[in-house]
């Protein structure tokens, strides 16, 4: 315990001596830590972008553009897509969360089962 306290004190002292050094923020790439997907159970997502099935974001972006909310169909669910999605939700009198939900996807003319990830259907005979 004493050794730990001494270590922290020395670290603070060393840091205080070098404290005036200017640094820039470290822009580390996003570390996506996936929640474990348990077989037979719906896939869980930590971030909204992880909800989408392959190609789902692009379909949603194309549908937004067709409705007059211009966004690049790049398949990336970023701030630009969220802003346009929120504007669409405002137009449709839906809750303006800027995140995709079932009603928003249906009002875009899309099928949520094709846009979002879902667990595989049960095999015949099981």
């Amino acid at each position: 315990m004493r050794q730990r306290i001494a270590l922290v004190f020395l670290l603070l002292l060393a840091g205080a001596c070098a404290h005036t050094k200017q640094k820039k923020p470290t822009e580390q790439p996003q570390q996506t830590v996936q929640p474990p997907n348990i077989p037979g159970q719906p896939p869980l997502s930590v971030f909204p972008a992880e909800m989408f099935a392959p190609g789902g974001v692009k379909k949603m972006q194309e549908a937004l553009s067709q409705k007059g909310f211009q966004v690049a169909a790049d398949g990336v669910f970023g701030p630009a897509t969220q802003t346009q999605l929120q504007a669409f939700q405002k137009q449709q009198h839906l809750p303006e969360t800027g995140m995709p939900d079932q009603d928003t996807i249906r009002k875009l003319g899309l099928n949520p089962e094709e846009i979002f990830k879902s667990k595989p259907p049960p095999q015949k005979g099981s």
Binding site: H19, Q22, K23, T26, Q31, P36, I38, Q41, F47, H93
Partner: protein, 390 residues
């Protein structure tokens, strides 16, 4: 000609049958609203400790919808008339699709517009005068069908701290407003969710300057609690929060903004999360001129200055706090938290947003010296420690 006469009689009956059904439909339409008002008031009268009232109730058949306006729940105390309602809802509706009903699926959705819930924290040592009602039960008594989706629009939550009467009223409030939220697939029936998890999405404002978001997915059918998601609070001026915490601290914020980013997963009641608070351009001062306040305020201000990153325009104090354990009692890891504060101050400034959230976990446990070596190495990322046994 007996068969022609029978045929002629059948033709005369049809207008009577048609007339009967038209009268029945008119009677149902005329009686629906008054009956709905009666049963609604009956349901509200059953809420223990609260007096319920509303302005009007309407039933629509195409689409099948129940609407209620200006719903109020006021606690039954001596000062009920002057008291703010615990719940006020400007407009709420429940709806069921005919196609689901015809398939014997009594399942629908609810929309709640401009609702306000006011919660008062009583002075220390006193209990709440009336126990809060079970809002889910109240909602079910008004919309007696399985709700699969709830949408909130322009709602508010006000938490009032009555334990610090010396602080001005407006400062004692925690005000979460402009709440926009949806909850999908919450009926928890496998064949209805179509293989997708339940989701909650929320966006709201906190006090005047803060922006709150929440995203969560959950498997309601799995054993135990299983959920994952993220939450963020951005740009809250800390002086807007001071009044709400004034009773518990001898330090007051002079200026600064608080943001916080969280990502979490919970599998079978075991939660793993990373919380990253970011305090920018912060300055604190003693709350009064007493010796203890002066000491506490000065020490706190010095600690903030010593542990911030001195990046121009940011001057941020950042910590990465790993949480692990049972969902009812998660434990924060002390060493990684302390080391992340020091890393931000003396090695590399930790970026804001969801960078490093959630934090990666080291495959094997490390002692404090190895963790310190990793934290002070600018080329290696910070990692949380694996959970140590049960």
């Amino acid at each position: 000609m007996p068969s022609a006469e029978r045929h002629h009689r059948r033709h005369r009956i049809w207008p009577w049958i048609l007339g009967f059904f038209v009268l029945l439909i008119v009677a149902i339409r005329v009686a629906a609203d008054p009956l709905a008002r009666h049963f609604t008031q009956q349901a509200l009268d059953k809420v223990e400790g609260y007096q319920g009232s509303f302005q009007d109730v309407k039933i629509s058949f195409f689409p099948l919808r129940y609407s209620i306006t200006h719903l109020k729940l006021v606690a039954k105390t001596e000062k009920s008339e002057k008291q703010a309602p615990y719940v006020y809802v400007e407009a709420a509706e429940g709806h069921v699709l005919w196609r689901d009903l015809l398939r014997f699926r009594v399942i629908g959705g609810a929309n709640i517009d401009r609702a306000k819930v006011t919660i008062a924290i009583p002075p220390s040592g006193q209990k709440q005068k009336v126990k809060p009602p079970n809002l889910a039960e109240t909602l079910y008594s008004l919309f007696p069908f399985r709700i699969n989706r709830v949408a909130l629009h322009r709602d508010e939550l006000l938490v009032l701290d009555e334990s610090t009467p010396n602080v001005p009223l407006k400062s004692r409030e925690l005000w979460i407003h402009d709440i926009e939220a949806t909850a999908d697939n919450i009926a928890s029936r496998g064949h209805l969710t179509r293989g997708q998890p339940a989701t909650i999405e929320l966006k709201a404002k906190v006090q005047r300057s803060g922006e709150l978001t929440l995203f969560m997915t959950s498997d309601l059918l799995a054993k135990g609690l299983n959920f994952a998601g993220e939450s963020s609070l951005r740009g809250l001026n800390i002086d807007e929060l001071w009044g709400f915490m004034a009773g518990n601290t001898k330090i007051k914020p002079v200026h600064g903004t608080l943001s916080a980013f969280t990502a979490f997963t919970c599998v079978h009641n075991e939660i793993s999360a990373t919380v990253k608070p970011v305090l920018e351009n912060a300055k604190v001062a003693p709350v009064d001129k007493s010796l203890s306040s002066e000491i506490e305020g000065t020490l706190a201000d010095v600690a903030i200055k010593l542990t911030r990153d001195n990046v121009p325009g940011r001057n941020a104090n950042v910590a990465l706090i790993p949480l692990k354990g049972r969902v009812t009692n998660p434990k924060a890891e002390l060493w990684p938290t302390v080391l992340s504060v020091l890393r931000n101050a003396y090695v590399n400034a930790i970026a804001g947003g969801f960078f490093n959230v959630p934090e990666q976990t080291n495959p094997t446990p490390q002692g404090p010296v190895k963790q310190a070596a990793q934290a002070f190495n600018p080329k290696k990322p910070m990692k949380a420690q694996p959970k140590q046994g049960k």
